[in-house]
Symmetry: C2
């Protein structure tokens, strides 16, 4: 196994959104990814995809939070205590965010997307087109996940 | 927009596989992710998911390759010239790999998966459970993508 090494990344751009707090988690939230000007041509052809993965850096997570090993999903004590890799918590050794978004439009170095749950000013590390290899059938998720999702969906219905 | 900043990551583990060259792209390829010993308990509960996203660092990509702006998919001159963000090429500003894999088993700090297209020794940055929020209907991909995929699927059939 190779020696432990440090990896250095530079943001390709930043998230711009008016959403604050819990609003960023609203699936209908529209955000802009403002790409570095020098990378504009690296977007050519992206508009032919309907969906993208956005990989971003959750820069507000502290060094201490990065040392978290176990969490209750969404801080809910009625949920099991789980290893961080069994959850999507931002408290993880490398606080990398990964979200599937809908591509709305591309104008110059600005990519407008729907469904990006990242705060204003978040550094973006990569953008990848979503394709059929990212899909799978027969997905199995734990009981606790289905329970959380059921609550969330009922809340959404009640708010409509 | 925040000033350009550097982001530092430390691998959470490394890929172990006997596959070499093009073999790593075989969807049936089985690999191990050997997690750092100090992170073993962060895996608790992951075995209840059937699929994971593995986020890894394509460490063999050179500084020059990271400056690539445009590529022909798979180096094929009969394919359009596209911005790197419109493809899954490893030649991108931050050579981060993202692959959806099937989780086979977890033993201590070793996670065995099927379908990870990463070479032996590749640093792993994060592991995330795949859930229903990572799925979408009505995916649109470009014509060139469908053409490549059709060829690939015909090749697979011919090899059987």
């Amino acid at each position: 196994m190779p020696a432990t090494e440090k990896i250095e990344l530079k943001p390709i751009g930043f998230v711009k959104t008016k959403a604050v707090g819990k609003e960023v988690r609203d699936p209908s939230n529209v955000s802009k990814i403002v790409l570095r000007q020098d990378l504009t041509e690296a977007l050519d052809g992206i508009e032919d995809f309907s969906h993208l993965f956005v990989i971003f850096w959750m820069h507000e997570i502290s060094k201490e939070e990065r040392r978290t090993m176990k969490v209750h999903p969404r801080g809910r004590m009625d949920m099991p205590l789980l290893g961080v890799f069994a959850t999507r918590t931002p408290h993880r050794p490398n606080p990398i965010g990964l979200t599937l978004v809908e591509l709305l439009r591309v104008e110059g170095n600005i990519v407008t997307v729907r469904g990006l749950d990242a705060f204003d000013g978040t550094p973006v590390l990569d953008i990848k087109p979503f394709d059929h290899w990212d899909r799978t059938e027969d997905v199995k998720v734990p009981e606790w996940w289905m329970r959380l999702e059921k609550e969330r969906s009922e809340k959404r219905k009640a708010n409509k």
